[in-house]
Symmetry: C2
Amino acid sequence: MEDAGLERLMSLRGLRRTPQRVAVWNALAESPGQTIRELAARLQGSGIGQATVYRAVRALEDAGLLLRYAAPRGELRYAAVLGHAHLLVCEECGSVRSLEQCGLAAYEDEVARTTDYRISGHTLVVYGVCPACQEAL
Amino acid sequence: MEDAGLERLMSLRGLRRTPQRVAVWNALAESPGQTIRELAARLQGSGIGQATVYRAVRALEDAGLLLRYAAPRGELRYAAVLGHAHLLVCEECGSVRSLEQCGLAAYEDEVARTTDYRISGHTLVVYGVCPACQEAL
DNA sequence: CCGTAGATGATAAGATTTATCACGTATGGA
DNA sequence: TCCATACGTGATAAATCTTATCATCTACGG
């Protein structure tokens, strides 16, 4: 697993590498696109308290190790990432995968030029229908 | 105001143009980047019930007339839009403006080609520091 | 191997969101 | 224009979700 990268990034950001935080990240790496309460329910079986899940998600997200996005039905969902990434969400089955490629540097430059903002980053979520769901339709 | 466009789009999507929904949209057009409870508090003075605010936001968003995005601190915030737009959020003062230009068609094509997803849309939020806050720093 | 700052678990407290239901009204057709 | 009705609203209760508290535990640097 890429735990090596995770561990390095956690210490880089000053986060203690606790079993609970690793479990939260792993759960979101295996099943991206969960809500916090789904995560909490799933991890309670491992003896992890729900308050800890909330805190771990907050900490990991602040460290840039989780991506949060606004899903349909007004939900906040999360996915594990190791660096900058975009999300590709299937509107039919709800599955999520991350896109490593990021072609937005030029766009950011253009925005910076036209708005005089100092750009620090962005979040992109692309919606569509995955191949499997296209077949099923 | 662009209520003409709003009214047209509401009927196009099968939404009744009630004063409450118009008030919600107008409040988010005047002050983009509010949470639902901020909206509800603000509109309660106009005699609009909080349940109605929740319902109106949901309806307007489903109709594509509001943009929802995941703000720092785990909050869901909203901004009024009339068509497709991106958001530019200032991380210092929290102000939000919309970007009309969208240079992501080529990127969507590339994602569609490499993933075999049928792409239907995207949400982009750009973070940075606005000119006023840059001065203040 | 120790000391300590920081993390966890359990539960209580607080806040947010939804459900319910009687009443009101926007909208299409006569 | 006026009516009928399907849809929306307001008030409040109920359900959910999130955070705070505090005693205990532990990851990590020395």
